[in-house]
């Protein structure tokens, strides 16, 4: 240890504290710089010891006649008795001349045990790097500093903090000996947190002394990968917290890291998940040494965890950062600024809170939260086609890929593509049905609003116009009509529509790879649109054609993107498309009887007319484009009602929603683009604005509803009895009769009423779309007709072969009156609003010869395996139902010796489903990588 010049004598009579400066060397440390800075201190340390380092460091030490220690632990053990404090300095630190003096003075003045310096960036000495920080309970640092915040002495007060930077800290000798010094296995920041936590837990005060300024080059961090900080924080938790705290903090840290990693796959940085994996692997690998360090620290511990909690912020810093990044992303996606240079980001962050884009984003987010609050907190209300997702996504995918379609009395026809897409997402979300429904609903709402923003931003419309257009898209009259009918899948189609149109309308990017990436993205979005509204596959092409006719600027080139995008989207409809006919595609189901009411029609006319006549060239073109699209959709839905079925009507109403939204956007901006116009023109523009606002205001009805316009749940509570009263083999089936619009999903239509069969206790989404009637359906129809024409004394016995255990009347129907004089349907007060009849002659939907019921475990039947036994399956007859199949009337009889009966399925449909899946992966990869 060399003896440096002592500080000048103070005006006090006390002996100045003796300080040992310990320089912690890391790779690429320029020792000369830090040693010079130490030598220049006005409060000269009693000695300088260099800790660690390579041969070069040793050479410098020898050259300057300093001491060297291989580790901080050895230094601590060898500390001479006259040393009062140890000043721990990073090798890349450049303390100002009075840094140590300030540390010593204030450490002793406030009787602290650890005092840290204010750390400034060496390359920009006016920018703060650290001035003491808080952490959250998971050890995540929270400095509270803005990015590149300039030091204006705004934090210059000595105060207690959760941790101080390890760049420069003064530690009392006794504490340092007790704690064994900083943990050298940790990177700088984590090491600072760890040391500060242990110091506080050992009863010491940890303060920051801002008057002690240290410039920091930051090379110490450059040599340490980011995941090591994460791993170091986990190690710090394990060392400092009690077992009770660890019991929940550790799992929380694990899960939050996982969630953040997953989300950052989409918003970046994408390595976060890999870092999280490495951090935890490292932590597990180092567990023995961590536990040893924990045991060693236990001897020095003086206080409980609550002393640490005092200096921690609430919540999770990681999650807070994640939300901030998502918001920033959303803002960036919808704001009109282009490019992303850092300077622009800095500029925007300064005025972030005042920007209209931020306010509209905030409003949009609030709208999504409130419009879907019932879905977020209570799940999707079961109504119309908004039915619960099955428990097992994998089973549904088996049905989808050429398996048995469980709707009604079953069919080998493929399921609707919306079921395939939904169950695929559910599989990714670990089969969480409620979460999947919420994610899809949120994606529909958010995707629609953001997509509308992107589409209209292309045309130069402002944030308010984009916001109102987004609201009109996802909650305007057309979407409300779809949701009012319970056609929940249309929300996803509505959400995808602006993206699909935007991606084909946007000009080609530079380079072949990017162009292919764009095409893949357009194909993906068109496909996503089509799986929820198959005929809307034509919407982007139709929109492009219309824009070609009515729009301005170069526009026909979009055809070159719309056509291949549409072709790429077609395979997403497999195998459903291969299993349907053109007639069924166009005519199946019942179209929605919707015509805009006057309160929607008049504002619409005002908006279209005003924008078209009074707007500038762009808003006029947009108004006409949207108007034709919207009214074309209305016309399509009317024609569908008269001549066709549901799918054309859904596609038409999606077009109406998109067109109305474009009209609203154009009308809102047309008023603001007329600084020098005639009074008449301004008046027209004002009326357009008023009409647009009124149309967008319709969204408030959805907010009041709180269930994205789906209304109240119709089935969960009403059919609760079926779950409560079901037997060990399951609930069998429910025959639901009533007005068709009150039934779940599709309904078979009869004279003046509708009916359908659903699985008890509650129908699920795959059951929503009924297939073409088969033998069993015809037999059931004949049975019901017989009830009406001839009456029957035992309708329960007549319904038993269909596996019908319950009859539920959802509204007025003639069937129910035929049940007045019968013997085996007992009316029970089981449902709050519906009339429920229990079938006293019911038989299971699958039953062995000896009467043993088999369970429906979709898409299979299961029961006791008995050699030679035969099982009756109340499913529409199909020879692929298994070994020993024979037709039993309209149903099936098969061998039950294996205990499982499965539908053999269609290899063709299975391959088509695989093809759709492979195309999805290829397009997704291409869209992500080639567009970067």
């Amino acid at each position: 240890m060399s003896t440096l010049e002592r500080p000048p004598a103070s005006d006090t009579t006390e002996t100045p504290a003796s300080v040992l400066a310990a320089v912690l060397v890391h790779r690429d440390t320029d020792l000369g710089g830090v040693l010079d800075a130490i030598a220049a201190q006005v409060y000269g340390p009693a000695g300088v010891t260099v800790v660690g380092g390579d041969e070069a460091a040793r050479a410098v030490v020898e050259e300057r006649g300093l001491r060297w220690s291989p580790s901080i632990q050895q230094l601590v053990q060898g500390l001479e008795p006259e040393i009062d404090h140890v000043w721990l300095l990073h090798g890349d630190a450049r303390p100002r001349r009075d840094a140590l003096a300030a540390l010593v003075r204030d450490l002793e003045r406030v009787d602290a045990s650890v005092a840290g310096s204010k750390v400034l960036r060496a390359d920009r000495p006016d920018v703060l790097e650290s001035v003491g920080s808080a952490t959250d309970i998971l050890g995540e640092p929270y400095s509270g500093l803005e990015q590149d915040e300039v030091d204006q002495e705004q934090y210059d007060v000595v105060r207690d903090v959760a941790f101080v930077s390890g760049t420069s800290l003064l530690v009392r000798r006794d504490l340092l000996r007790g704690l064994g010094g900083p943990d050298r296995t940790m990177p700088p920041e984590a090491s600072g947190i760890d040391f500060s936590q242990r110091a506080r837990a050992a009863g010491g005060r940890v303060v920051v002394v801002p008057s002690s300024e240290v410039l920091h080059e930051g090379t110490c961090r450059a040599t340490v990968p980011g995941w090591r900080e994460q791993a170091g924080r986990v190690r710090a938790l394990l060392k400092a917290y009690s077992l009770l705290t660890l019991s929940w903090v550790l799992p929380a840290s694990f899960l939050i890291g996982l969630v953040a990693g997953l989300v950052r796959l989409f918003i970046g940085p994408r390595t976060a998940l890999w870092d999280w994996v490495r951090a935890w692997v490292w932590s597990v690998g180092r567990l023995p040494s961590t536990l040893a360090a924990r045991r060693a620290f236990r001897r020095a511990r003086q206080t409980g965890d609550e002393e640490l909690f005092r200096y921690q912020v609430r919540g999770s810093v990681v999650l807070r950062s994640l939300v901030a990044d998502i918001t920033e992303r959303f803002h960036a996606a919808t704001s009109e600024e282009t490019g992303s240079p850092l300077a622009e980001l800095v500029e925007r962050s300064r005025t972030f809170w005042q920007q209209p884009a931020f306010l509209t984003t905030l409003f949009a987010a609030a709208f999504v939260v409130f419009a879907g609050r019932a879905v977020w907190f209570g799940g999707l209300p079961a109504t119309g086609f908004a039915l619960e997702l099955p428990d097992s996504a994998w089973s549904t995918l088996r049905s989808y890929a050429g398996g048995w379609n469980p709707a009604g009395l079953g069919s080998p026809e493929p399921l609707h593509p919306a079921v395939g897409a939904t169950s695929l997402l559910q599989l990714i979300l670990l089969s969480r049905a409620g979460l999947t429904a919420a994610v899809l609903t949120a994606a529909g709402l958010l995707g629609g609003m953001v997509g509308m923003g992107r589409l209209l931003r292309r045309f130069g419309l402002g944030p308010t116009a984009r916001l109102l257009a987004g609201l009109t898209l996802v909650a305007g009259p057309a979407t409300q009509a779809l949701m009012g009918e319970g056609y929940w899948p249309a929300l996803m189609a509505v959400g995808a529509a602006p993206w699909a149109v935007h991606l084909v309308l946007a000009p080609w990017p530079e380079g072949l790879r990017r162009r292919l990436g764009r095409l893949a993205a357009a194909g993906l979005m068109t496909g996503w649109l089509a799986v929820f509204a198959p005929l809307a596959l034509l919407l982007p092409l139709a929109a492009v054609l219309l824009w070609g006719i009515l729009g301005d600027g170069p526009r026909w080139g979009a055809l070159a993107r719309a056509v291949p995008a549409g072709l790429l989207a077609v395979p997403f409809l497999f195998p459903w498309l291969a299993g349907t006919t053109l007639d069924r595609l166009l005519e199946s189901g019942v179209a929605f009887d919707w015509l805009p009411s006057w309160w929607a029609a008049i504002p619409f006319v005002a908006a279209v007319g005003g924008a078209a006549v009074a707007g500038d060239e762009r808003t006029s073109s947009l108004g006409l484009w949207g108007g034709v699209m919207a009214l074309g959709g209305v016309l399509g839905s009317r024609v569908a009602l008269a001549e066709a079925g549901r799918e054309p009507a859904v596609a038409a109403l999606v077009a109406t929603a998109l067109g109305s939204a474009v009209v609203v956007g154009a009308a809102v901006d047309s008023a603001g683009r007329l600084p020098e116009a005639s009074l008449l023109r301004k008046g027209l523009a004002a009326s357009a604005l008023a009409g647009a606002v009124l149309l967008a205001a319709a969204a408030s009805l959805v907010v009041v509803d709180g269930a994205v316009g789906l209304g109240e749940d119709r089935f969960v509570e009403q059919l609760d009895f079926a779950a409560a009263l079901q037997g060990p083999h399951g609930g069998d089936r429910i025959l639901m009769v009533g007005p068709p619009e009150t039934l779940p999903g599709d309904a078979r239509r009869a004279d003046g009423y509708g009916y359908r069969v659903v699985s008890a206790p509650l129908p699920s989404l795959p059951e929503a779309w009924l297939s073409a009637p088969r033998l069993g359906d015809l037999e059931l129809d004949r049975t019901l007709q017989e009830f009406l024409s001839a009456g029957t004394l035992r309708p329960g016995a007549a319904l038993a072969p269909f596996g019908i255990r319950w009859v539920v009347a959802t509204g007025p129907n003639p069937i129910e009156s035929a049940f007045a004089g019968q013997l085996d349907l007992r009316r029970l007060p089981l449902s709050p609003s519906y009339t429920v009849y229990s079938n006293e002659a019911a038989q299971p939907r699958a039953v062995a010869e000896d009467g043993t019921p088999w369970s429906w475990d979709a898409p299979d039947y299961r029961g006791p395996a008995r050699a030679g036994s035969r099982v009756y399956l109340a499913e529409n007859g199909d020879q692929r139902w298994g070994k020993g199949w024979s037709q039993a009337g309209w149903a099936n009889e098969v061998d039950g010796d294996s205990g499982v009966v499965s539908f053999g399925g269609s290899a063709r449909f299975r391959w088509l489903a695989w093809a759709a899946g492979i195309e999805l992966v290829l397009l997704a990869v291409a869209a992500v990588w080639w567009r970067r």
Binding site: L624, L631, A818, A820
Partner: protein
Amino acid sequence: MKRLLGLVLVALLGVVAWLVPVPAQPPPPEELPVATTVATSARGFAECAWASSAEGLDTVIALAALADVDATLSFPRSGEVRALHETSVTGAGAVVLPVRRVLEEHAAPVLVEFSDGPAAAGVVVGSDAVLAGDPCTSASTKVWLLPGGSTRQGERLVLHLFNPFSADARVTLFVTSEHGIEPGVDESLSVAASSFTEINLDGQLPLRDSLSVTVETEEGLVIPAMELSRGADLAVWTGVTQSSEWHFPLVHTDALEPSVVLANDGLVAVEYELEFFTASGGSAPPVESGELAPTSHVRIPLGDVVAGLVGLRVTADAPIAATVVGESESGIAVTAGAPTAAKRWLLPGFGAVSGRHSLWLLNTGEEQITVTYQVLDPGGLNRDPAKIAVRPASVRRVLIEAEASAGLVVESTAPFTAAWSVEDDGAVAYSAGVPLEE
């Protein structure tokens, strides 16, 4: 120019969308019509609202079928099926089942279910000086009428409400007499599922010359029957629905004074006509007409009108109910008519009790018809069919030896109506037939 064209296109689309004709949606049914099935034909079941195995009443259930059928007889009581009996009929044939063999109760209404058809059931009582009979109904309706009752001195009138079904029933009763609407009867009452109830009308409305009861069901369904006893004799008849035409091949036998009772449950007056058909026939049968006030009934004595064999057709300008009553000092018989003619009839219970059995045939058409009839017994069609001609617009009575039989099947090439009667020692029973679908 583009703006103008665009606006024209938008306007055109709007107008066309507005004007596209769409199919009119049927209005949602607010009040659905009650499923009413009039007993114009035999169905797979029959409800016998009255049967008894009380002391002195040898009641039998007669089951007649044209094909081999299994029959299940269930006797609901107090919410459960108290007794169950299964039997079979070799078709075409008929069997009888004494009620006492299954259940010994004062009242034992029964539900009969057939595995196939055509088949029908009837209840017949044959004891000392007591004869009664009535086919069981397979009709279901919310409104039943039971005209033909009385509570004169020495008479006992009981309304039976039978609910064999799975749902509780709530009914309202309206009673009219020669005094008009009668208050004071249990107007609203419940009949639990799988049970029955009896209302003693002679106790509540004594000394009425004529009573008609309307049973309106507000919830569920019931099958009503009336039991009228005078002296030793007994008459039983099931409720009828309303029709604007009624056929009575059987109006009177030698022993009883006939009258017809017409009941109007509606709120407007009804014009009616009575056409009398004699054995000799004729193109213009004598006619009597009259007006039936709203919510009322009328009992028209036919003793002065009828001389000899006569059939009756009642027509009205609105639906009414009608029964024929035959009475004497010691005998009583009541039967409902047939609301329509048919080509084939089953007469369950024909020959099930001893006495003088008569088949009554009414041909209201303008052509003579040939009727084939065949007695049914447990062994099937063991007896040769017989044929008889019935002149146009005429009625005919056929006395038949029906030893050990339990039913009769009657058919012709043209529609007609059939009924039967049995007489023994001054006791008389009238019974309508059951029409079969063609």
